[in-house]
Amino acid sequence: MGVPRFWREIPARYNLIGSKCETCGAFYFPPRRFCPECRRQGKMAPYQFKGTGEVVTYTTIYTPGDSWIGGKPYVLAIVKLDEGPHLTTQVICDPAEVKIGMRVKKVFRKIGEDGDKGMIHYGTKFVPA
């Protein structure tokens, strides 16, 4: 991933900042310019999520792509944040430990890197709460 592309996403990735529609009250992550419910009548404002939620579903990945530099296997999950929206994230735990409905909280972690000389990517992962 190029530097400008990653840099653009830093506020959302580092701080879990998404959007709140001030017209209908819905929360979105990642940030959106349009509320799919209200469209032109929607009024989107940045919103920092508390970073707590629960595992909706999960898998343990044994065969990542070539660009993956982390250890394996690793646990990937869809987490429902307490404010409502869902996101795809890693859960740092023993694969035997993760369960549907498990409470989790955000942590700041290294996600990946662009080879030996490229930039290092950081972002949000989750751990059992």
């Binding site: 990642p30 990542p64 070539d66 869809i78 869902h86 996101l87 795809t88």
Partner: protein, 392 residues
């Protein structure tokens, strides 16, 4: 709007074709289709080519010009050739565009092709390229692979509806069984539930045998106005319905992870246009990129109630001879999944079934067949309904 018919089909062998090039396989499929329709080639007015990732798999973009060139239709006829991309639904969408072009009256004889050459790069590169069918910035970046996203769907489906590991595995067992009788299929061997369950783990609960393979292949069909179809062939297959729909590109933004809203909508649009219901369908080629995908598809298309897809599969209701034969070709699982070609290959299988030329895979008395082609984890869905009888 004019009714449209398929007047010729062609399809290469699917598999690892290391000795053959991207352009070579798609030209072979096109030449077969032209021969099948008894055309010379100069009748062709336009071309739509479904291709997902020429850029990532073979470092080739500008697919329209390339294919028109090597089918001999560029330098002399300068026909319009358009590449169509919607991830693994690229082929189905190319066909839909060809149908729309003929239905509108803009063109008469049009080719829809699909092609992918996936084995020229190493597996890890393929995994990354396929992950680009999901949301790269918010799924792929977090380490999500294509199997992982479908595995999370499977996990929730099992949790919510009691779908079992054996029910998932039976999708692969049945599709391998069907592929034994398909000379084009990549895998023509029977497998058992234990073969699936004991294979190398890819992304829990999926093993290698829950996943469609990495495949090279190409397919082509030729469409023409229904009123002219008998000029070209004694066995035209008529397009009764076509539906396309989208949903969020990321799985996590869906209202429900156990149904693909795009499949439901594309299916309903095709049923409405064809004036048929799921009960009228004699066979369906669905997008079984992973075992759970076939179970979702047969539920989303209305063949079975939500949660009943797994038990129905294990009970043999989707086998040839069952209530609704699914993936008589062997599906993506056993016939192979050259991503951009899949949607066209599904149509080729339906045409052969409706002509009664599917050999040992033949569904007795098949009159109406359906295809269901999905891009990514349900971000795009394209359905078509075909018949060997013209619309009244």
């Amino acid at each position: 709007m004019r009714d449209v018919a398929i007047i010729g089909v062609g399809c290469t062998k699917f598999g690892e074709m290391w000795e053959r090039s991207f352009r070579d396989i798609v030209v072979e499929a096109g030449a077969q289709a032209i021969g099948d329709a008894k055309l010379n080639g100069e009748e062709i007015e336009a071309m739509y080519v479904g291709n997902m990732s020429g850029g990532q798999f073979v470092s080739q973009e500008h697919i329209g010009s390339l294919i028109a060139d090597f089918t001999g239709l560029a330098s002399t006829f300068h026909i319009p050739a358009t590449r169509v991309e919607a991830a693994c639904a690229s082929g189905g969408l190319a066909l839909r565009n060809a149908i729309i072009a003929v239905a509108s009256g803009y063109h008469d004889v049009v080719v829809a092709a699909g092609v992918e050459k996936m084995t020229d790069v190493e597996t890890g590169v393929t995994v990354d390229a396929l992950a680009s069918a999901a949301d790269r910035e918010w799924e792929g970046f977090m380490g999500a692979t294509f199997p992982a996203l479908y595995a999370m769907v499977a996990r929730l489906h099992m949790h919510r509806y009691g779908t079992t590991r054996d029910q998932l595995a039976q999708v692969a067992v049945k599709n391998h069984h069907n592929a034994v009788n398909n000379p084009r299929a990549q895998f023509r061997n029977e497998i058992t539930l234990d073969t699936v369950k004991n294979a190398t783990m890819v992304s829990d609960p999926f093993t290698l045998f829950d996943c469609s393979p990495i495949t090279d292949g190409a397919a082509a069909v030729i469409v023409a106005p229904a009123e002219d179809a008998k000029k070209y062939t004694d066995s035209p297959v008529y397009v009764l319905g076509s539906g396309q729909a989208t949903d969020t590109i990321s799985l996590h933004n869906r209202a429900d992870f156990c149904t693909f809203g795009a499949s439901v909508a594309a299916g309903q649009r095709a049923y409405e246009m064809a004036h048929v219901t799921p009960n009228d369908i004699d066979l369906c080629e669905v997008h079984d990129c992973f075992t759970i995908a076939e179970i979702l598809a047969i539920e989303d298309l209305g063949f079975f109630k939500k949660g009943q897809g797994g038990p129905a599969t294990l009970a043999g209701e989707t086998a040839i001879g069952g209530k609704i034969p699914i993936n008589t070709s062997g599906g993506l699982k056993a016939c192979g999944h050259p991503v951009g070609a899949t949607g066209i290959k599904q149509a080729v299988e339906c045409v052969e079934q409706l002509r009664g030329t599917a050999g040992k895979r033949q569904v007795d008395g098949a009159k109406i067949a359906m295809t269901h082609n999905v891009g990514g984890t349900g971000g795009t869905a394209v359905c078509h309904i075909f018949s060997n009888e013209r619309r009244k």
